[in-house]
């Protein structure tokens, strides 16, 4: 168990603290757990935290994710070590940050009625961007995502099992890889649309 609650002594969000370069390197190394991920692990943890706060319907999931990472990095710098596994400790801090956010200005967002049936305003632009981004992927990634997300939803299960077997991957490893490629593709299409 954690020795004390790192967030309990901080009743308000403290965004003013930022890790020094040395503290940040120490934090990345600790987060990697001995395997150098060249920052991937940090980005992945930030994504998970942002998703967590988003699911909790917080107003600024990205700010809160940064707050968690800052607090963890700060404690690591101050104490030199944290006995909990990195991801587990991040969750503990995230939970406290979430509870604090409920008491502060970071209130749950107020829902506004929206028209979710409204079609895309620029479907052709999006399709054009999608084709452009797809062609920019490495051939292996492109083939994988085209086969992982086929047209026929019902064929997905069987197709994915075959694909995993062919690539000698577990179903979960294949899913993670496909999700990463899709994430890159979505980001690329979003940037392409914004550029117009």
């Amino acid at each position: 168990m954690t020795t004390g609650d790192p967030a309990r002594t901080r009743p308000r969000l403290k965004r003013e603290w930022a890790p020094s370069p040395a503290a940040f390197r120490q934090f990345l190394t600790w987060l990697d757990g001995g395997i150098d991920s060249t920052g991937e692990r940090y980005l992945e943890m930030r994504r998970r935290l942002e998703d967590y706060f988003s699911r909790k319907r917080c107003q600024s999931p990205d700010n809160l994710a940064d707050e968690v990472l800052n607090r963890v990095a700060r404690r690591l710098e101050e104490e030199g070590a944290i006995p909990d596994p990195p991801a587990r400790y991040c969750y503990i801090v995230a939970r406290f940050v979430f509870l604090e956010s409920l008491r502060s200005a970071e209130r749950h967002r107020t829902e506004l009625p929206r028209d979710y049936s409204r079609p895309d305003d620029a479907p052709d632009d999006r399709l054009e961007c999608l084709e452009k981004c797809l062609s920019g992927l490495p051939a292996n990634d492109r083939d994988l995502i085209l086969h992982y997300y086929p047209d026929d939803q019902r064929a997905r299960g069987e197709g994915r099992r075959e694909l995993a077997a062919r690539l000698s991957m577990t179903a979960n490893a294949l899913a993670i890889r496909a999700c990463r490629i899709r994430g890159r593709l979505e980001q690329c299409v979003g940037e392409c649309i914004r550029r117009g």
Binding site: E44, M45, R48, L49, D51, Y52, S54, R55, K56, R57, P61, P85, A87, R88, C90, Y91, A94, R95, E111, R114, D115, Y116, S117, R118, P119, D120, D121, P123, R126, L127, L130, E131, L134, A139, N140, R142, D143, L144, L146, H147, Y149, P150, D151, D152, Q153, R156, E162, L163, R166, L167, N172, A175, I176, A178, C179, R182, L185, E186, V189, G190
Partner: protein, 287 residues
């Protein structure tokens, strides 16, 4: 107690309920923790989320799940953008299959690319001949049209096709097709059909309005069985055709297979809010 949390099983159905906010509090808290601390769970959750968004884009969610998905999930920042990506992806993949385009690269599969239909050359030639003999719908008298054309559809050359000298002397035409669909209130209950050929590139659809009450209209092509949106066009305006007001939309013919579809017409108010007006069912027949 991380072991107690991670050792309890979970399935995709629970993950869906977690994502749409309908899981009980105890499991929600457990999944909250796993979503950050457990690599396998986090990966699985992301995969299920992608499939869930795709299922919504395809219109494959139950009404209850769909409602929860829209109010709980899509209302979160950035999620509509993800939903739009899923829609574009669905459309792209559907077109790829419809057009029987071999999928890029074949390194992962030794199966041939799916071809929903294969057409002999002779049939294609017959299609060209058949399309050239199109039927022009009598459009000047709505009442007589109802009695004479109970299927409320006709095939004709679209107005956009050049009709000038020489237009028919450059070999076979690319089989342009136009159809006119009447609102269901004027129909006989029989689903109209339209014949298209393999060389058809576009189907120009004229939707006859019962009333012209909106500044712009949206049209969505839906799979009849699943209600999945296959194509849509926004911001269309109405025009006159004889005594009627119509909305014209040009659909990429490669999207169409020999099956039933509906075209859902929505009106959009100046405020941007849209209202579904009616649907126009029809059947595609391949020649």
């Amino acid at each position: 107690m991380p072991d107690a949390v991670s050792s309890q099983p979970y399935d995709d159905e629970q993950l869906v309920r977690y994502l749409i906010g309908s899981l009980d509090e105890q499991d929600t808290e457990r999944f909250d923790e796993l979503s950050i601390s457990d690599d396998e769970f986090a990966g699985r959750l992301r995969a299920v989320e992608n499939d869930l968004i795709d299922a919504h884009a395809r219109g494959e969610l139950s009404s209850e799940t769909r409602a929860r998905f829209e109010t709980h999930y899509l209302s979160r920042p950035g999620k509509m953008e993800r939903r739009r990506f899923a829609e574009a992806w669905t459309l792209r993949q559907h077109r790829a299959v419809s057009a029987s385009v071999p999928r890029p690269g074949s390194g992962f599969s030794d199966r041939p690319a799916r071809r929903p239909w294969v057409w002999p050359l002779a049939a294609a030639a017959a299609v060209v001949l058949a399309v050239l003999g199109y039927v022009v719908l009598v459009r000047s008298n709505p009442s007589s049209r109802e009695s004479q054309v109970p299927t409320s559809v006709a095939t004709e050359r679209p107005k956009s096709v050049p009709q000038g000298p020489g237009s028919g002397s450059t070999g076979p035409l690319p089989a342009p097709i136009a159809i006119v669909l009447m609102p269901s209130t004027r129909g006989t209950g029989e689903i109209p059909s339209v014949s298209i050929g393999t060389d058809s590139t576009e189907v120009e659809v004229s939707l006859v309005l019962d009333g012209d009450d909106f500044p712009t209209y949206d049209v969505a092509l839906k799979d009849f069985g699943s209600d999945r949106i296959l194509w849509h066009r926004a911001g269309l305006t109405s025009s006159s055709s004889g005594a009627d007001r119509i909305v014209v939309a040009a659909i990429d013919a490669t999207l169409l297979k020999p099956q039933r579809y509906t075209l859902e017409l929505s009106g959009r108010r100046a405020s941007g809010r849209s209202e579904v007006i009616t649907s126009y069912p029809f059947r595609v027949v391949m020649k």
